[in-house]
Assembly symmetry: C2
């Protein structure tokens, strides 16, 4: 059928959607979500039909993406025909029936997600089915490979390539900023790509950005890694396994995370990692709550790594409270720099040394922990970080006190004397975000008391930093309501940890995004 | 945060979506699919956030629905705040985890589907989880009730109210047009609402529309039923259980149908039915392929009816070929009228008498079949149909030959002599649709040979009718390719029924819609 093109002035977020009048579609036998083939001036595009009763019957409406792909700007006559449904939708339907999918079938799906040939409805159904049925190891491997193959890749032309990843969930976890320089200082290659915070107060990319640019191109990364042996860059725009972001967009409102493993491992495969340490923070404050969950996940990581040709070791780490004292991009960058200069909080130093040591032993060093300590004590790791900062375009001579925090700040005091019984990490995250993190880099929290510490009445429990008075005020108000640092002299004086029902929006918010 | 309103010139199909700049959303801590509360001039609206990088940072963009609800036309300053996720989304998430939902939780979901507070992603995940986990009987009942309560209802102030429904799938099934007059002729109330064809060549509403208007309001239906005891109207715009259409929209691309029972039964409950016969055509040409499936479905209908206060009996009917000889709105209307005038094909008459008889016995008549035959033989049923036609605004004196078909038509002949071994109903549907059904009411097929019939070489297998030569040509071409009427002298001469792989688009098209 020939229809006249109408062009809408907005994009559809990359989605390949056209809008047809309901009657016109019925005449063509096209139902909502059916595919149509558009032909204009020798070009062919397949799009998903959306229907509207209030659009003119002799027209077809394009969002900007399709209009550009087809080369129309409005009022052209376009040939519109029903098109068969994509093969990948047949594969999605098979998964809804509980079938195990083969490699090429999963590849079809991932490719059509990346190329926007599947709708939100279809992707959502696929992810829900994966969540409910689970993935076999061969499906997990196939998804990982498909996610690699539909994206770009880094190549350094040598081996081994080391990497470190955290499944996340711990505020203040600046370990990568310390591990990467330690490992690179020993002469190994560690091209670390990181994410920005989405639901947390800071991602590694946000922290590093306080010291130097992190939005490097693939070519620039190759240069930095050749020069410094390592990098600390934002992975978001590199199109390494781009399917991941498209899946996360759909998983987020559902609070499900069925592709955690392929999502992480495809990114590692895409940068060419051969040896990987995965940090699995475990505890009430972490994403992974119990040891059983942590060991299952660890075992899956190791197995998947074997299938993908990556030697994986997992670290189960203490996840009951924030790491170190500082939370927020600038505060954490300062704390990481201090740690490399020999003046960091003990838990941060200990965790970084453990993980770096594991990486060293993974590539055959006899005493990895010792090697890591040597790199730290000798200040070789500090030098290495400065070299990376310089290579990425920052100031290599930066001192901790040069890093700007605040300028607004306030203290939260203990109302009574006691011991720190519990730190509610979710409360800490909320207060830090109310203060302006991750967007306002000088915002954040400094903890003055951690688990088990004794505090006197009136002493400082934590400080809040913000860039604007209004944000400081909001964060303080929230801190007083949430009381994230819980004191108790004896357990029997504070048996009530929480009450139910709580506000739904606070309780169900999920951390699917920060993987 | 205060943002300036921008109003898009299109609707979002009822969906409550606003578009925010990605950065602006990040500053508010709002992620894609999060809810935002919009406040303007004392009005509050909750909407779902969609994000776009290419929209201005200081603006919020509204589709027409939200703009109207909030009373903005562009350039007003609107207060935008993150809002908690709706309670129903928490319930959806619980279903994804496999939890059984309680009545009020399912009601939350259905209400928020109807009020467009849940996104396609969320509805799709919910329906997929229902499809995989299945629904308990109490969940099925709760869904049915919720679908009734979120829509309008008919009330005739008396009992019993009889009804008849077919789960569908048989081309040419015009039984309702015969059963309704038979039942009403005996003095019973039978307010029949029907659907239009979506994937089939004709729905009951399409057939009846050949004789009289079917798009009546609820008030008009009350008048017709008071006058004639029955009606044959289109149920689509009456807002009886409107959740159904919203669910079907999402189920269609997925080819799933988890709400078949609540969907049908909620519509019956909404018109106040107390006694219902459900026709379950069973066979290779039908939606339900095996007797086992059919009995399971029948049992579920009866049980659900008991919970909802509807006395349900199910009829398993022969579903291996089209019903009667005529397929297409006008041809079928003519065949139904002929049947009521004593001159219908035997299978059509037999089926209508069986179903009407079951309904009579359901309300206590001793010999229902006999009663049905009496209504038909005495022409009381014919008179009743004419009375209904008049009450709905049509010509009560219409003769079968007044009904226009064609005018284009062609015959398809047997290439050899033989017996009809198999009629591919899907092929018949495709040919009829290629000829122009259901939109072009004069289009369709007349079968001259049915299962078991012997045909001579060169005799007519079927005729194709169309309103336009081009459609006739397309239908003929398809008929020659598909050969929907399969002849065989002996089975060993025609062992190949189909080949695999077939074209995907043809094979996977589903009939979810016509329920």
């Amino acid at each position: 059928m020939e229809l006249t093109a109408g062009v809408l002035t907005i994009t559809a977020g990359g989605k390949r959607i056209v809008i047809l009048n309901t009657e016109t579609a019925a005449q063509m036998g096209v139902h909502v979500s059916d595919r149509v083939k558009l032909t204009y001036a020798g070009k062919e595009v397949i799009a998903i039909a959306d229907l509207a009763a209030d659009f003119p019957a002799d027209r077809i409406w394009f969002y900007l993406e399709i209009a550009q792909a087809l080369g129309v700007s409005g009022d052209e006559v376009v040939e519109v025909q029903p098109a068969p449904m994509p093969e990948s939708l047949g594969n999605v339907r098979a998964k809804l029936r509980g079938e195990r999918l083969r490699d090429e079938e999963l590849f079809n799906i991932v490719r059509d997600v990346v190329e926007q040939h599947l709708s939100d409805i279809e992707i959502s159904a696929f992810l829900t089915a994966l969540k409910i049925y689970g993935l076999s190891m061969s499906e997990t491997e196939a998804m990982s490979r498909a996610m690699v193959e539909t994206g770009k890749a880094l190549s350094f032309g040598k081996a081994p390539i080391l990497d470190k990843h955290s499944v996340g969930g711990i505020p203040g976890d600046k370990t990568s900023m310390i591990v990467v320089p330690i490992v690179a200082a020993a002469g190994y290659t560690i091209p670390k790509t990181s994410s920005r915070a989405i639901t947390s107060p800071a991602g590694t990319a946000d922290r590093v950005e306080v010291l130097c640019p992190v939005e490097l191109s693939i070519d620039e990364i190759q240069v930095v890694v050749k020069k410094a042996g390592g990098c600390l860059v934002w992975g978001g725009a590199l199109e390494l396994a781009p399917a991941d972001d498209l899946f996360i967009r759909v998983e987020y409102p559902l609070g499900i995370d069925p592709l955690l493993l392929p999502s992480i491992m495809s990114k590692k495969k895409a940068i060419g990692a051969t040896h990987l340490v995965v940090d699995i923070p475990t505890g009430t404050g972490a994403k992974i709550k119990t040891a059983t969950e942590a060991y299952t996940l660890a075992s899956d990581f190791v197995h998947l790594g074997r299938h993908l040709g990556i030697d994986v070791h997992c670290a189960l780490t203490f996840g009951d409270q924030p790491l170190g004292c500082c939370i927020g991009p600038a505060l954490e960058a300062r704390e990481a720099l201090n740690t490399l200069m020999g003046d960091g909080p003990p838990d941060t130093q200990e965790k970084a040394l453990s993980l770096a040591g594991m990486l060293f032993e993974l590539v055959g060093e006899a005493d990895g922990r010792h090697k890591a300590e040597e790199m730290l004590r000798s200040r070789k790791a500090e030098c290495k970080l400065r070299q990376i900062i310089e290579a990425q375009g920052g100031n290599p001579k930066i001192k901790p006190e040069d890093i700007l925090v605040g300028p607004e700040h306030a203290e939260v005091h203990a109302q009574e004397k006691g011991r720190v019984l519990w730190i509610n990490t979710d409360g800490i995250v909320q207060v830090a975000r109310a203060a302006g993190t991750p967007k306002e880099k000088g915002a954040g929290i400094i903890l003055h008391a951690k688990l088990g510490d004794s505090v006197a009445k009136g002493s400082v429990l934590f400080e809040i930093y913000a860039e604007r008075p209004s944000k400081l005020e909001a964060a303080l108000k929230l801190a007083r309501r949430l009381e994230p640092v819980v004191l108790s002299r004896k357990p029997e004086e504070r048996m009530l940890l929480d009450q139910y029902p709580a506000k739904l929006g606070e309780r169900e918010k999920n951390a699917t995004l920060d993987r």
